[in-house]
Assembly symmetry: C2
C-alpha cells in the first residue's frame, strides 16, 4: 500500500501531519508519501527517527489555507499539496489520500474530472460520511458535502454508507435510518417524506426514521441526512460537548472542595471525553469519488492523523470504491 498524506493540512502544519505519517509508517509498514513544501517536510521529518521506515516526499509549491475559498482554490492553486496528492491517486501512483485541511477544498479538488478523481459512474453526489465517536460508532452521511439534496441523493448516501459500514466496520446488513424530527410516519420535511418510499423499495436494510437521541444511542448503523442538517447536527454535538467540558472545568476550579473532587473524578471525565472526541475515530471518508479520500479535522494532532491514515488503508484494502460501483449498478437494476 502507498498512502499519500497532505503535509500542509493541519492548523499547525507540517509538524502534526509529518508526526502522524511517521507513526503510521512504523505501525502499518506501508509506504507513506508526504506531499507539500519539501523543505518544511524535511525539517519536520528531521525531528523523528525514520530509520527503516518507508517514507517519501513529493514537492508541491502551493498550500491551501482554511480561509481559502474552495471555488478559487480549484482554479488558482493547481500545484497545492491537495491537487498534487489527489492527482497521484488518480494516476495510480498511490492507493489513498489523507488530509486534515480545508474540507471544502478537498471536496472540490477530489471531484475535478481531469486532475482529480471525479465521481463513480452513476453517483449523483459524493458525500462525507462521519463516524460518531460514541461506543456504537454510528455513521452520519452526509456531513456537509451537499447543502441541498434530492431524495435520490439520499438513497445513494444510504447505499454508500451501508457499503462502508459493512466492509470497514464489519457490520452485516447495516440498519439504515433517515434522520428526522420524529419517528412517526408523517413527520419529517418533504425531502425525508419523499425519500422514505425509495428506501422501502431498495435492497437496503431500512428500519425507519430516527431522532438525534436514537442516532447517538446507535439504534441505526447508517443515519442519512442532507449535508446542511448533518453539518448543523455534528457541529451542535461538538459545541455542546465542548461547552459542557469547559463549564465543568471552570466551575470545578471555583471552590477548593469541587477542585479536589474534580481531581479525583478525572479518570471518569477522560473516559467520557473519549466518547465524544471525533479524533478517536479518524477522519470522514469522502464516498462516491473514484478513489480513497479521508478528510480529518484541522485541529488534529499526530495521533488523530495516524488514525486517519490507518482508516484510509482499511478503506483502500476493502475496495470501497469498487463496492460502491457495484452497489450503484444493483440499485439501477432494482
Amino acid at each position: 500500500m502507498r498512502i499519500v498524506v497532505d503535509a500542509m493540512g493541519s492548523d499547525n502544519n507540517p509538524d502534526p501531519d509529518v508526526a502522524g505519517a511517521v507513526m503510521a509508517a512504523r505501525k502499518l509498514k506501508d509506504t507513506i508519501i508526504l506531499v507539500g513544501d519539501s523543505v518544511l517536510i524535511k525539517a519536520a521529518l528531521a525531528k523523528h527517527d525514520t530509520n527503516g521506515l518507508s517514507l517519501e516526499i513529493v514537492h508541491a509549491s502551493q498550500k491551501i489555507s482554511m480561509e481559502d475559498k474552495p471555488s478559487l482554490i480549484v482554479r488558482e492553486k493547481r500545484d497545492s499539496s491537495m491537487h498534487v496528492g489527489i492527482n497521484m491517486i488518480k494516476n495510480g501512483n498511490a492507493d489513498a489520500f489523507v488530509t486534515v485541511g480545508n474540507t471544502g477544498a478537498a471536496l472540490g479538488v477530489a471531484m475535478l474530472r481531469n486532475t482529480g478523481l471525479g465521481r463513480i459512474t452513476g453517483i449523483k453526489r459524493p458525500a462525507l460520511g462521519v463516524i460518531f465517536p460514541t461506543p456504537e460508532r454510528p455513521m452520519l452521511i452526509d456531513n456537509g458535502a451537499n447543502a441541498d439534496c434530492k431524495p435520490e441523493y439520499l438513497l445513494q448516501f444510504a447505499m454508500m454508507g451501508s457499503v462502508y459500514v459493512e466492509r470497514v466496520l464489519g457490520i452485516k446488513k447495516p440498519r439504515v435510518a433517515l434522520l428526522s424530527n420524529g419517528e412517526e410516519e408523517g413527520k419529517g420535511n418533504v425531502l425525508i417524506q419523499e425519500t422514505v418510499p425509495l428506501l422501502v423499495n431498495s435492497n437496503l436494510n431500512y428500519i425507519g426514521n430516527v431522532e438525534p437521541k436514537e442516532f447517538m444511542q446507535g439504534e441505526a448503523d447508517v443515519v442519512v441526512t442532507d449535508g446542511f442538517t448533518g453539518n448543523i447536527m455534528m457541529k451542535t454535538a461538538e459545541a455542546v460537548a465542548s461547552y459542557m467540558s469547559k463549564m465543568i472545568r471552570q466551575y470545578i476550579k471555583s471552590s477548593p472542595r469541587t477542585a479536589v473532587g474534580g481531581l479525583l473524578a478525572r479518570p471518569a471525565f477522560d473516559r467520557v471525553k473519549s466518547h465524544l472526541d471525533p479524533d478517536e475515530v479518524g477522519g470522514a471518508p469522502l464516498l462516491g469519488v473514484n478513489g480513497v479520500v479521508i478528510i480529518g479535522h484541522g485541529r488534529s494532532g499526530a495521533i488523530a492523523i495516524m488514525r486517519a491514515i490507518e482508516q484510509a488503508r482499511l478503506v483502500a484494502e476493502k475496495n470501497i470504491v469498487d463496492a460502491i460501483a457495484t452497489g450503484i449498478r444493483r440499485e439501477g437494476k432494482n
Copy 2:
C-alpha cells in the same frame, strides 16, 4: 390577568400541572384557570393549601396524549383541555394559555380559525421560539412548527423573534442571525442564501450567519432557521447533554476514588446542568397566532410549569401579539 393552564398536559398529569399552577397563583397573585378533568383536578388541588389563591376549574371531557396524531386531535377531540383552554383565550375569557402537552396538537388547535386563535393578519406561518438556557439566553426560531420553509417565512420568524426578545427579555435592537453551516458568504443551503437579501433589506438588526457554537455563545440574540433544522439542533443539544451527564454519573460510580470525587464536585455539575436545562427558562412561545400560547416539555415538573406560567404572564403583559401585528405592517411598507 387570567392565565389558563392545561391540567392534562404533562407526562404525569395532572399533579405537576396543578402544583405549578398553585405555585404561580401564589407568586403572581393572578387568576389561574385549570382546564381538564374536573374530578382529577379537584383531587390534585386537595393536596395543596390554596387558601386565598385565585384558582378556577373549567371542565374538559377529553385529554390529548403524547401519542395522539395532531391531525386527528383537531377534528376528534373537540372537548379536549387544549381546545377548551385555547377557546377561552379566543373569546376573551383569559389572557394566556400554557400547556406542557403534545406540541403538534397545541399548534394545530391554536391555529384553528373558528375555535382556536388563527394567525395574526399577514403572518404566513406561526413559529415556535425557544430560549436556549445558556447564560446569554439566545432565541432559536423556528424550533419545529414548520418543517419546510420559504425565505419569506424566515424573514417573519426573524421579526417575531426580535419583537419577543426586545419586549420580553428587554434587549434593545436584538442582533439577528441565520443559522448556517458556515459564516462566510456563499455558505448555507438555498433557503439560507435566498433569505440573506431579505434580512439585509429589512428593518431588523441582521448581523450575518452563525454556526451552532456561536449560537450557544450568544453571539446573536435571535437565530433563525427552518423548523426541521431547528428541531434537530435542539434535540441534538439535549441528547448530547443528557448523554454526557449519564456517562459522567456512570463512570464516576465505577471506582471508589472517582465516586468520592464526584460527590465533592457535585455543586459544579449542578451549575453546569442548569445551563443546559430547558426547564430553567419556561416554555417555547408560539409566535404569530392571535393570542398568547406557551408550550413546555411533557416531562416538566411543577417548577418548570410555574416558570412557563410566569413567562405567559409577561408575554401577555408586554402585548407581544400587538407588537407582532405592528411589525408585520411595518415590514409590509418596507
